[in-house]
């Protein structure tokens, strides 16, 4: 009987093999980082000051959180409102919408080092913000803007038109329809986009070193320089004097990402329930 459907079996084998390889690779990477990193995680790694002898990751951790927070504050509202305009207000399929979409798609594909260079020249030199939180956050927010716009656009588009018709049919205006009906239905998708953006920020190194800089201390104010975890790790690995601490930083970086993902999905569930 089985012989009759050889393709079924081959297809099954292929899917099975693929998932096997995927899981193996993932386990290998995470396992490698944790096994080499976790033993070096110690209280001194979280000391307030980072010195040449004790490369504490604390300032970099703070730097990462600040960059994430600031760039989200800048990019999330802008991205969401732009997407709302494109989907709910602009004439569907108009040339303007097409041009904007093409632009965002292109922006999403540009290598981050290009953003870094632009940020350095525009924010750092032209606006005179130097290597600072401001330069870094503005640069990174431009980088994640297309990501958030796309995710929001797609989740707004996924909201069935029948919801909109139901709302308009009751005499609700466009604003109320968008705020009360469409946005809540699209929230999980928008949050997923934001999580993706956070991942992108945390993982970013090139654009950050160009704009935030890479000094091993916590920024004191918006116009102060600092470093992020990934830049910290890059530096440690480059210097080669603290390979253990570099791995420990990688492990912490991984944990931070996992934590943020868990937090976001918790928020998503909370939003959905209320």
């Amino acid at each position: 009987m089985k012989r009759k459907k050889p393709f079924d079996f081959i297809f099954f084998l292929l899917t099975w093999l693929s998932i096997g390889v995927t899981v193996a690779v993932f386990t290998l990477v995470v396992g490698y980082v944790l096994i080499n990193g976790v033993p070096y995680i110690s209280p001194s790694l979280f000391a307030l000051e980072s010195t040449a002898l004790n490369p504490s990751l604390f300032p970099a951790l703070m730097g990462t959180l600040m960059i994430v927070g600031l760039s989200l504050i800048l990019a999330v509202p802008l991205g969401i409102f732009s997407a709302i305009y494109l989907v709910e207000y602009a004439r569907r399929g108009s040339r303007f919408v097409k041009i904007v979409r093409l632009t965002t798609e292109t922006l999403a594909g540009i290598p981050s080092i290009v953003y870094g260079l632009f940020g350095f020249i525009f924010f750092g030199v032209f606006l005179g913000w130097g290597l600072s939180l401001m330069s870094g956050a503005f640069t990174v927010s431009i980088m994640i803007l297309p990501l958030i716009m796309r995710a929001t656009e797609e989740s707004l588009r996924a909201v069935p038109d029948t919801y909109r018709e139901g709302s308009f049919g009751l005499g609700a205006g466009r604003l109320r329809t968008v705020v009360r009906i469409v946005l809540p239905a699209a929230t999980p998708g928008i949050l997923a986009g934001i999580i993706l953006a956070i991942g992108r920020i945390i993982g970013e190194t090139a654009a950050i070193i160009f704009t935030l800089g890479n000094v091993a201390r916590m920024p004191n104010n918006l116009f102060d320089s600092g470093r992020t975890l990934s830049a910290h790790m890059y530096t440690l690995a480059n210097e080669g004097t603290h390979p253990g601490e570099a791995h420990a930083t990688a492990a912490v970086l991984l944990l931070v990402v996992i934590l943020i993902n868990a937090l976001s999905s918790w928020i998503a569930r909370f939003v959905k329930a209320s």
Binding site: R91, R92, G93, P160, T162, Y163, R164, E165, G166, S167, F168, G169, L170, G171, A172, G173, R176, R180, I181, P184, A185
Partner: protein, 252 residues
């Protein structure tokens, strides 16, 4: 004696971009009557019913000429389209409750029009659900998601939602086409009951349904109103050959 007209349609033509979907429609829709629109798929029934509360405004490239009067006042003139839609409620072919609780679904309309008092809202929600003959089935699950209701219950919830803003007119576009016979019977019974307080326009593909519930029937073909009159008359002695062929099922 001639009934008072709720809607008067005067030379209504409608285009979707280049395609003319309605051709020179003239008709009077009497108040507190049930008027049925019948005709083969694509003949413009939905298009016409959606013109009555200007839901067509939302469609790109849709153009309309002629005039539609509601209580002798043009719906294209100096009128707030949101107020028009409050007066002319709509129930859609596929039940489309919002993804929120049963209560919030029904309270959405009144809240839209500025009612905030919890007490008032409770009252309106209960009354609307009772009028839509679904109160007994949902009174213990008002806080549950409306999406957990059955299809028939969802459709009656949508009727309750439409009633919640106290419209004069209820437009129903094939409200039972997605439902089983028992839910259909419940909704037909409900529609007949609602006739006393509302003017109802209903699109249906079900000839029996049209004869069972409607007072007037309009037969459409390719965007034209071919025949319009008393339901008994249309179904017993249709004047137009095409109408006769359609209602006897010989339409080809």
């Amino acid at each position: 004696m001639e009934k008072v007209s709720k809607f008067s349609l005067k030379d209504v033509n409608l285009w979707y971009s280049d395609f003319q979907a309605l051709k020179n429609i003239n008709m009077e829709i009497p108040a507190n009557f049930i008027t049925a629109f019948i005709g083969p798929s694509g003949c413009g029934k939905s298009t016409l019913i959606k013109s009555l509360n200007r839901m067509n405004d939302l469609i790109e490239g849709c153009r309309i000429t002629g005039d539609i009067l509601l209580d002798n006042e043009s719906i294209h003139g100096n009128i707030d389209v949101n107020m028009l839609r409050k007066r002319v409620g709509m129930v859609f072919q596929k039940p489309n409750p919002f993804p929120m609780s049963v209560f919030d679904n029904v309270a959405y309309g009144p809240r839209t029009h500025g009612i905030k008092s919890k007490f008032r809202l409770n009252e309106i929600v209960e009354k609307s659900l009772c009028d839509a003959a679904i109160w007994d089935e949902v009174k213990d699950r008002l806080k549950k998601s409306a999406l957990s209701l059955s299809g028939g219950q969802q459709q009656r919830l949508c009727i309750a939602r439409a009633l919640s803003v106290q419209p004069d007119v209820l437009l129903m576009d094939e409200p039972t086409s997605a439902l089983d016979p028992i839910s259909t019977a419940k909704i037909e019974e409900l529609v007949i009951k609602l006739k006393d307080s509302y003017t109802i326009v209903i699109v249906t593909h079900n000839m029996q349904q049209a004869t069972r519930i409607s007072d007037r029937t309009g037969f459409f073909l390719l965007g034209e109103l071919v025949e319009y009159g008393k339901t008994e008359r249309i179904f017993s002695v249709p004047k137009d050959k095409r109408c006769e062929d359609y209602i006897t099922g010989r339409f080809g």
